[in-house]
């Protein structure tokens, strides 16, 4: 038991005027009687003056004093300690990940709302001087409110807490709390979460964690993966993974192609297994696909019932190959669905495009050709001339990156190379790494194939002439060509596509240094300016839906992002979080800090007031 505002006990001095006013205002009806003789005797009787009789005599005064005492004690804001938390500072960590948006029933409240109710009660009942901080986390943590004892600020901060369609990353939240603990001393933090995060966390907990689990066993069904794969030259196959948890009813999955219903499939869940459903869509036009899942019954989480994927128009790859690279051109002719420039002599000439999907050249002057994928052959790039030099003796391949997309399934052993490269004096592999070059094929003295990726540009540098090696005669050569084409096709988005997830919008290349407005699904707008390269800075996309990019009032493009997270859709909640050294179990008891008693005292005062009113009226 304690008091938040003990100084208000001074109000008890009001008892004195109440007593004075009571006796001053006590108007007794005057009654003339024949003689006081008998009454005086009666009132002199000890029985009349017994304490109980005196108490009864001024019952109204007693009730008034009781009311005042209860009101004064209510004003002192007393609290009952009990099992409550007496810590001076407590950080409150709130999980705002997608699963916290799960409703407890149709039209009910979400887990986050329930957590907020509990936190609100926690704030309302905090003892005097107790400070709370509010930290939220989804895929990353955010401090909403620093340590303060101001309930108004805390409540305002709590109102700002919104659920996000993102997975939970508790480690980030705990690291932030740990960082806060360096400036503010506290012993315990309270975590409000449904426990929908990995059970094991690589984190050494430097404080006590009170894990308040907010969960409800509710059914949910959702789309947990969405991708598209090119099928032939004219169509895409859409793969959607559906996952259900709890006793979910059947659902209908509808596919909308540019706003029109293209197909639908009925999904009958079987326990908690995921199931893949596929659709085939034509690839002759650029299309925006929307998958809508319509559960036949209550579904706890709505954000995983919709997902988006954008597909480009299927087309042949446009590849420029220097005419001097005859072996490569010959190998490319065997690859289907590509357009080679300059075209072979036996094919009709066409107008060369302005941009290419792939440029393969042995001439440094061709580096100005507009492309995102460059494959140079036989020369050392100018920026590497200080690091590498031409090797005069034969070179041999000693190793290669077998997992590299270009060399997948390629066997490069026993290939003879007439002119390799070697490091300049004092240079080494580290100098290449500093310049963001990755060695794909290692020669005895220096690299033979380098790869560099920056921004959306990919460059391969084959540092020896193909024609001056036995590579074209090896089976690895057509495999490499095939791998190269596949890599280029993938980069051009013509091989497969994966639906964008919530978090950050996919990178977009737009007009350079132009201001764009982004309309979000929550009807808020952002304004961002592109860089010199035309790249739009990373835009946070925490909610499922379509983000529209506008230049002024003109719509430039739109991108749909989806939750697509199996863990969030399953709505699983761990009961125990395993840290490096200890485990924290979900607490059964609510994290109520001191139980404030002022409301009860005020109600008691009101009851006594009613009692006094009744007693007063009864007497009259």
């Amino acid at each position: 038991m304690g008091f938040n505002e003990l100084s208000k006990l001074w109000f008890l001095t009001l008892l004195i005027p109440v007593i004075i006013f009571y006796f001053l205002k006590l108007k007794r009806p005057k009654i003339n009687i024949s003689s006081l003789f008998l009454w005086q005797q009666v009132l002199d009787d000890k029985r009349v003056n017994s304490p109980f009789q005196r108490f009864k005599r001024h019952l109204l005064l007693l009730l008034q004093l009781l009311i005042l005492i209860f009101l004064v004690f209510a004003a002192t804001n007393p609290y009952f300690l009990g099992n409550m938390n007496k810590a001076k500072r407590i950080p409150i960590i709130i999980d705002i990940s997608a699963s916290m948006g799960a409703l407890d029933k149709d039209g009910g409240v979400s887990r986050l709302e329930r957590a907020k109710e509990k936190i609100k009660k926690l704030i309302d009942n905090k003892i005097s001087g107790q400070e709370f901080a509010i930290i939220t986390f989804s895929d990353r943590a955010q401090r909403i409110c620093g340590f303060t004892d101001n309930a108004c600020i805390l409540n305002q901060a709590l109102d700002k807490v919104k659920q996000k369609d993102l997975p939970a990353n508790i480690e980030d939240a705990l690291r932030m709390v740990q960082a806060i603990s360096k400036n503010f001393q506290f012993k315990e933090a309270i975590l409000f979460s449904d426990g929908n995060f990995p059970e094991e966390t690589k984190f050494s907990l430097p404080f006590n964690l009170n894990f308040q689990k907010i969960s409800n066993d509710v059914p949910n069904i959702g789309i947990t993966a969405l991708s598209a794969q090119r099928s032939g030259t004219e169509s895409w196959v859409i793969f959607a993974e559906l996952t259900s948890s709890g006793k979910t009813a059947a659902a209908v999955l509808e596919l909308y192609h540019n706003g029109e219903l293209l197909g639908e499939e009925t999904y009958v869940p079987h326990s908690e297994n995921s199931e893949r459903i596929s659709f085939r869509v034509p690839g002759n036009l650029e299309s925006s696909l929307e998958l809508r899942l319509k559960p036949d019954g209550f579904d706890a989480l709505s954000s995983d019932n919709i997902s988006y994927i954008s597909l480009p128009q299927l087309r042949p790859l446009v590849i420029y190959i220097s005419p001097t690279l005859k072996s490569i051109r010959a190998a490319m002719l065997g690859v289907a669905n590509i357009d080679i420039f300059p075209p072979p002599s036996n094919t009709p000439s066409t107008t060369p495009p302005t941009t290419y999907d792939l440029v393969i050249t042995d001439t440094p002057s061709h580096l100005d050709v507009e492309t995102n994928f460059l494959f140079t052959v036989g020369f050392i790039p100018s920026d590497l001339k200080g690091t590498l030099k031409r090797e005069t003796t034969d070179a041999t391949i000693i190793d290669w990156e077998k997992e590299a997309p270009l060399l997948r399934h390629a066997q490069l052993g026993e290939i003879s190379i007439m002119e390799g490269t070697e490091f300049q004096t004092g240079r080494s592999e580290k100098d290449l790494e500093k310049m963001d070059y990755q060695t794909i094929i290692f020669g005895a003295k220096g690299p033979l194939l380098l790869k560099k990726e920056w921004a959306d540009q990919t460059t391969y540098n084959l540092l020896f002439y193909v024609s001056k090696s036995t590579l074209p005669f090896r089976i690895a050569f057509p495999i490499m060509i095939k791998n190269l084409v596949e890599e280029v096709r993938k980069k051009a988005g013509l091989s497969d596509r994966i639906a964008s997830r919530t978090g950050i919008l996919p990178s977009l290349i737009l007009m350079s240094e132009t201001e764009y407005t982004i309309n979000t699904p929550t009807d808020s707008t952002l304004t961002e300016k592109t860089t010199q390269n035309g790249r739009l800075p990373a835009i946070s996309a925490p909610m499922t839906g379509i983000y529209t990019i506008l230049e002024g009032a003109k719509k430039i493009t739109e991108t749909g992002v989806s939750l697509l997270n199996k863990d969030e859709s399953l709505l699983r909640g761990t009961e125990k979080i395993k840290f490096n050294e200890l485990s924290v179990s979900a607490s059964d008891k609510s994290a109520i800090t001191p139980q404030s008693l002022w409301k009860y005292l005020a109600i008691l005062a009101l009851i006594i007031l009613c009692l006094e009113w009744w007693f007063f009226n009864k007497r009259n």
């Binding site: 006590l26 007794r28 009806p29 005057k30 009654i31 003339n32 009687i33 024949s34 003689s35 006081l36 003789f37 008998l38 009454w39 005086q40 005797q41 009666v42 009132l43 009787d45 029985r47 009349v48 009789q53 009864k56 005599r57 001024h58 007497r619 009259n620």
Partner: protein, 304 residues
């Protein structure tokens, strides 16, 4: 003139209805102590006298009146015996009416006046000397006094005297009795009509009466609110005589304690009176005169 006024006019006094008066005229005061005066009256004295009522015989002594010798006895016994007769003496009836403020309440004084009138009639018709003292009347510093009178011819005067009593003084009955005893001479019966609600000493007043050879007939006239008060609220009582104030808060067993004290008070008064060979009775002002006279006084032998 309405029927009530006509009825009152037809009566000898508004104090006593005619039918009651006619019955009272035939009633007499039944004295226990027989305090009598030397004057001749109708009450037989213990002493020998010359009335017609035979009392006893005694041996003749020289010097005795020869007229009282029973000659028949002398003839038979040859010895002279003197025939003794009872003496009939006059009894003084003193009626003391408390007319203080406390008696104004709930017509206590009215009933007291009626009882006094009834006693006066009985006294006058019984050839007693009747005197009335009114104590505590605001119009007089000394007790109003109806001088000792005998004979039914004074009945009308008595009625007029009683009718004029207004009451409303502040002196208590004990002080009043003291005053009365300064003026009164004679033995007999003292009828005190009062509520006896005084902070003074009733014992002293009783002693004074008893010492003056007055048989005390104390009739306590209480109002209904004194006998059975009702208290519903916190009240401030104001004493009608002393203007003293007393705050009384209702509740619990206050009334039962009051009743207990009232009964004790009445019992003590009765005991005090009895110890002085007197009689005590409490009547309610709500009672009718007929009830008081014919039910209480007659049945209890105060009158016959």
């Amino acid at each position: 003139m309405n029927s009530n006024e006509t009825k009152i006019k037809a009566q000898l006094t508004p104090l006593l209805p005619n039918n009651v008066l006619s019955r009272i005229e035939r009633m007499r005061i039944n004295s226990i102590c027989r305090f009598t005066n030397r004057q001749r009256g109708e009450h037989l004295s213990g002493r020998g006298g010359t009335s017609m009522e035979f009392s006893d015989y005694r041996d003749y002594s020289p010097g005795d009146d020869l007229r009282f010798i029973d000659w028949n006895i002398y003839a038979r016994l040859n010895r002279p015996y003197l025939k003794l007769f009872k003496v009939e003496e006059e009894m003084h009836l003193v009626i003391i009416i408390d007319a203080s403020n406390s008696m104004i309440f709930e017509k206590k004084l009215d009933l007291a006046k009626q009882i006094a009138a009834a006693y006066g009639v009985m006294g006058l018709y019984g050839n007693e000397r009747v005197s009335v003292y009114v104590v505590g009347d605001k119009n007089s510093a000394v007790p109003l006094h109806f001088p000792a009178s005998a004979g039914r011819g004074n009945m009308r005067k008595l009625f007029r005297f009683l009718e004029k009593i207004k009451g409303g003084g502040i002196s208590s009955i004990d002080q009043g009795v003291d005053e009365v005893m300064k003026y009164h001479r004679g033995k007999g019966v003292a009828v005190i009509l009062s509520d006896f609600l005084t902070f003074g000493s009733i014992k002293r007043a009783m002693n004074a009466l008893f010492s003056a050879s007055l048989e005390i007939c104390a009739i306590q006239v209480m109002s209904q609110s004194e006998l059975d008060p009702e208290l519903n609220d916190d009240s401030r009582f104001i004493d009608s005589e002393t203007d003293l104030k007393l705050d009384v808060t209702s509740g619990g067993n206050l009334l039962s304690i009051y009743h207990e004290h009232k009964d004790n008070f009445i019992n003590k008064l009765a005991e005090t009176t009895r110890q002085r060979s007197g009689r005590f009775m409490t009547v309610s002002s709500a009672d009718t005169l007929s009830n008081v006279i014919f039910e209480n006084l007659l049945r209890q032998g105060w009158v016959k």
